[in-house]
């Protein structure tokens, strides 16, 4: 069996075991393809994303874990390091700082951390980055909260 497949099975088992331990992350493997995963992550508290549930799509490459998985947001999110249209994420560990010791689960944790601590100095969403860079935290928060309400929360009534 391929190394990547074997490793993904291990991760799958691990995920089943840890489900209760980390209620913020819900990783699901595609029924027919172990290289496709989706995750639901909860917006971290005390951020404009609080209360939202965001969906991530994982595409795992053949040489995984030697190469990082490709991850993007399926849920629209207003965040300096996430492309507003494509959901692409600018995160060092998904690019050159990747290490095979990372797992899909730990990638989710890193993304949650990124949501709580945006890096406005390397923006993928310039409008969002500029708001933070110019010190308009209030403007940023209200924009981000609006999109969280619109896209990441169940519609009321």
């Amino acid at each position: 069996m391929q190394a990547s497949r074997a490793r993904l099975f291990k991760e799958y088992k691990e995920v089943q075991r840890e489900k209760v331990a980390d209620p913020d992350i819900q990783l699901v493997c595609d029924d027919t393809n172990i290289f496709k995963w989706t995750a639901l992550i909860k917006g971290p508290s005390e951020t404009p994303y609080e209360g939202g549930v965001f969906q991530l799509a994982f595409a795992v490459p053949e040489p995984y874990p030697l190469q990082p998985p490709q991850v993007r947001f399926l849920t629209k999110i207003f965040h300096p390091n996430v492309h507003f249209k494509t959901g692409e994420i600018c995160l060092d560990i998904l690019k050159n700082a990747w290490s095979p010791a990372w797992t899909l689960q730990s990638v989710c944790r890193a993304i949650i951390a990124l949501m709580a601590h945006p890096e406005p100095d390397s923006p993928l969403n310039c409008d969002s980055g500029n708001l933070l860079r110019s010190g308009d935290v209030r403007g940023f928060n209200s924009m981000a909260r609006m999109y969280t309400r619109l896209a990441a929360m169940p519609k009321k009534g």
Binding site: L66, N81, S99, A101, D121, C126
Partner: protein, 540 residues
């Protein structure tokens, strides 16, 4: 223009009319002297495929002896410090061994990380209870199973990252031990890995560059001294600029030449694609395309820049360093640029026409050289006088012709950029520009007139001439060669003192004028080879 030329001829004629033979001898002696001086002062060497290992070894041995480290450690250090032994040593003195080692990704062995457990876990494949003999611990202390290491090395080598294969652990900056890599990967891959390590000596070394010949001759050129811009000739015959690796282009600066070439290729599809999809790095001017990620770009050369405006920024791309960017600001200039475009095109056509005319003449170089050589040889075979037997004077003149014609042809793109607005718009006032342009064009015209004259005399059927007439022709050629040489020298002086000298933001270094033509690199011979040679000759 003609007047100028006549002046030269008359002066020289008066000077050398009386005793031809003596003058000739002096001339030849002078030539020989210059030859000797330049050959002893060779500043570049050719490193062939065979001597590459020896050349690398030279640096390795120096570091191994000075720091008493193993060969693989020396190599890792040198790759990190780009084969600059002096820089490495200064870091060693300033910051100490530990700091230098950890920067380069070498860790000093730490026995406390050794575990005595019989079975271990591999964090990559997540297998538990692996016997310790299928695990390998790197010097940084991280252990993973051999299968995972092997996969990791294979992927990295195939991705062309042989030179810096990092440990698999998160945030661990340690470089994997060469010997472990070689032991674990397949023999073919180990070979590839070794090749990358050896070639690093050229790829990462500021002082060594591959000869840009196509097809590649396999050699690299090493500069002995870290001087400014030079042009060299490889043993394969190719003359190129050591800075930008394109064909020799003095008196154009590398940037001028690059812009000119790009302009000349015109609107081919490739150029279109490159203009639309890439931005030039503000430091090394390589075109860069963006695939994904944020707008902070990092070029291979280490320069950071903003993708939106293309301007250089700091690594952190902070609020401060991005200030002053005109990112996103509409420029009124664009409109005026359109109007200027037509005038620019006319200008370009003017310079390009002249550049092309001389370049085309150069293309006939081989043919002319051959036909002149034939005439000279047939003279030497059939006639007795010294001037026929010893025909280096005509060959010298041919070489002078091509050398100066090359300079002449490149002086047109130089003038195009020097007096255009693309590069030096704010560097001088309009009057100043006009004045300098006239000065330069005068010199250019003088040179051009003399080069054409030289070319015309060389085409004379001197194999049909009698002795007197050939002596006369020789004298003419000598005088003209000297005149052309002087004019080239003067033109370079003018460029250096009047034109590029006062430019404030100078990245426009040009290779200096060399009367004897572009320097030929000498063959590299490693000291190791030499000593082994000595040994063998001593025993025989």
């Amino acid at each position: 223009m003609d007047d100028e030329y006549m002046n030269y001829e008359e002066e020289d004629e008066n000077y050398s009319l009386d005793d031809d033979e003596q003058e000739d001898e002096n001339y030849n002696e002078a030539e020989v002297d210059v030859e000797q001086v330049t050959s002893t002062k060779s500043t570049s060497q050719v490193i062939t495929k065979k001597s590459l290992v020896a050349a690398q070894k030279e640096s390795l041995v120096r570091v191994m002896e000075l720091l008493s480290v193993k060969e693989n450690q020396a190599r890792t250090l040198l790759i990190y410090y780009q084969w600059n032994v002096d820089k490495l040593l200064s870091v060693y003195i300033d910051q100490g061994k530990d700091q230098m080692f950890s920067c380069a990704g070498l860790t000093v062995f730490d026995p406390s990380l050794v575990t005595s457990k019989k079975t271990m876990n591999c964090d990559v494949c997540m297998e538990d209870d692996l016997p310790s003999d299928v695990m390998t611990r790197m010097e940084c202390g991280h252990s993973f199973c051999n299968d995972c290491w092997k996969e990791h090395f294979t992927v990295r080598i195939n991705e062309g990252e042989s030179k810096r294969i990092l440990c698999m652990a998160h945030k661990c900056k340690a470089i994997c031990d060469e010997d472990v890599v070689r032991k674990l990967v397949s023999p073919e891959l180990a070979e590839k890995y070794d090749r990358f390590l050896i070639e690093s000596y050229v790829e990462d070394n500021k002082m060594v560059k591959w000869c840009p010949s196509i097809p590649h001759c396999g050699s690299a050129i090493r500069k002995i001294e870290d001087d400014d811009v030079v042009e060299v000739e490889c043993s394969c015959g190719l003359q190129f600029c050591f800075s930008c690796l394109s064909e020799s282009h003095s008196p154009c600066s590398c940037l001028m030449w690059k812009l000119w070439k790009k302009k000349c290729v015109d609107e081919s599809e490739t150029v279109n694609w490159i203009t639309v999809n890439t931005k030039l790095c503000p430091k090394c001017y390589k075109p860069i395309s963006k695939q994904d990620g944020c707008n902070l770009m990092t070029c291979k050369c280490g320069q950071h820049f903003c993708w939106l405006c293309g301007e250089a920024t700091g690594a952190s791309h902070t609020v401060q360093s991005i200030a002053g960017h005109s990112c996103g600001r509409y420029k009124d200039d664009k409109v005026r640029q359109m109007e200027r475009a037509k005038r620019d095109l006319d200008r370009y056509t003017h310079y390009h026409y002249r550049y092309k005319a001389h370049t085309d003449s150069l293309k006939l170089e081989d043919k002319l050289r051959k036909s002149i050589l034939e005439k000279a040889v047939s003279n030497a075979e059939t006639k007795d006088q010294l001037v026929f037997k010893e025909y280096s004077w005509v060959i010298d003149a041919v070489n002078r012709l091509f050398r100066s014609r090359r300079i002449l042809s490149y002086s047109y793109p130089f003038a195009f950029y020097m007096f255009g607005e693309e590069l030096f718009k704010d560097e001088m006032s309009d009057e100043e520009r006009e004045m300098k342009k006239n000065l330069f064009e005068d010199q250019q015209q003088q040179l051009e007139g003399n080069v054409e004259k030289l070319s015309k005399i060389l085409e004379e059927p001197f194999d049909e001439y009698d002795h007197e007439k050939v002596v006369d022709m020789k004298r003419h050629l000598n005088n003209l060669s000297n005149a052309v040489d002087n004019l080239c020298k003067k033109m370079y002086e003018c460029i250096e003192n009047e034109l590029l000298g006062p430019i404030q933001f100078g990245i426009h270094n040009i290779a200096p004028y060399r009367s004897k033509g572009i320097e030929q690199a000498t063959e590299f011979c490693a000291e190791i080879c030499q000593t082994s040679d000595c040994g063998s000759s001593g025993s025989s």
